[in-house]
């Protein structure tokens, strides 16, 4: 009634209460951590048109049975030795020098009965329907680890930096565009030296 000069003031005392209410709501619903895991690509369902002939020596077979035992290249193997075996196979570079497949960066044994070139080397993984998922992930981890170790080695030689480190920075959306363009080329170069060729057959049943 007796108010003069300007509109009435709104009482802002309860603003803090409202803000607290919202704050508590978001506190409860928030999940900050991001998931991480092993990235894999599945093969397309339609079979390739042409029949590719792959030499037996270029295939590295890994079989997991339902008890979690490993058969690597027809030999019972401990899981701990898998990474070293896979690396020896990928890095073998068996093609003789002068051959178009000759691998000049391989440091393996150059055994003529193992893979010709990292580009030709294929790891074939087969598992039983009753294999535990935990075992499967451990095997996958070791095989991806074998590729990463070799890529890191080449990456250190060429760019004085780990491949996994470069790839993480390249995939990080916060990395500036200019840095990413530069990294993209390096990442692809290293990937070309050791392309990941991991094939998974249909699972077999034990009976």
């Amino acid at each position: 009634m007796g108010r003069r000069g300007g509109p009435a003031e709104v009482n802002a005392g309860s603003m803090a209460d409202i803000a607290f209410l919202l704050l508590i709501f978001f506190l409860v619903t928030t999940t900050i951590e991001t998931d991480a895991g092993l990235d894999r690509m599945l093969p397309p369902i339609e079979p390739p048109d042409e029949n590719v002939i792959i030499k037996q020596k270029n295939i590295f077979t890994v079989n997991i049975n339902k008890n979690g035992q490993l058969l690597v290249e027809e030999e019972l193997t401990n899981l701990k030795d898998l990474r070293a075996k896979a690396m020896a196979f990928l890095d073998n570079g068996g093609a003789p020098s002068g051959d178009p497949l000759y691998c000049n960066y391989c440091k393996g044994k150059r055994d003529a009965n193992s893979s010709d070139n990292p580009d030709k080397a294929i790891i074939s993984l087969k598992n039983d329907r009753e294999t535990k998922y935990a075992t499967y992930i451990t095997v996958q981890n070791e095989l991806v680890g074998a590729y990463n170790d070799l890529r890191n080695r080449e990456s250190q030689r060429l760019y004085k930096r780990d491949f996994t480190d470069m790839e993480a920075e390249y995939l990080n959306p916060e990395t500036p565009e200019s840095v990413r363009d530069e990294l993209k080329e390096k990442v692809q170069n290293v990937q070309k030296l050791f392309p990941q060729k991991l094939s998974e057959a249909e699972t077999s049943s034990s009976n």
Binding site: A16, A19, L27, T31, D35, Y136
Partner: protein, 160 residues
């Protein structure tokens, strides 16, 4: 003079709380920006295995989740103890996975539809048989990019 000295009768002046809303708003905006709404509650046991060679799943809007594991105790009476698939908020059979992926894909903006990743959150005690069936379904609907979600840790601990 006595007019000005009247209030000073010895005790401390009260701390001003006028800036409290500002502080609270600052916190509020922080949590608003980092928040991701929980869209489904877990109905399956989901202890993920460990791995070392992991990559982070960036950009949550490009990820679809499939949960696999034994039903939790409250659902075990109805659904048994065999590992099951959970899509969104309900149990599903293997044949429903393809439809689920297609539906979720259609909900995403056009430019994201080709870059979606399917995150497989599989309990470490699940069998590979169910997972291979899911993988076959994913291949049928051309959802080829998958990520086996794991914890970071020594992979050999999985075997114990």
């Amino acid at each position: 003079m006595s007019k000005f000295n009247k209030k000073k009768d010895g005790d401390l002046p009260a701390v001003s709380t006028a800036s409290l809303p500002d502080i609270v708003f600052m916190l509020l905006f922080f949590f608003m920006t980092v928040t991701v709404m929980k869209d489904s509650s877990l109905m399956v046991q989901n202890t993920l295995p460990n791995a070392t060679e992991i990559k982070k799943l960036e950009k949550k809007d490009r990820v679809l989740y499939i949960y696999v594991g034994k039903p939790t105790r409250e659902y075990q009476k109805v659904f048994g103890t065999e590992p099951k698939i959970q899509l969104n908020d309900k149990f599903a059979s293997v044949s429903e996975v393809g439809d689920f992926i297609l539906q979720e894909r259609a909900k995403k903006p056009q430019e994201l539809q080709n870059v979606l990743t399917t995150a497989m959150k599989v309990d470490k005690d699940a069998n590979m048989g169910l997972l291979s069936d899911i993988k076959l379904e994913l291949r049928k609907v051309n959802a080829l990019k998958i990520n086996y979600t794991t914890y970071e840790g020594d992979a050999f601990r999985n075997l114990q």
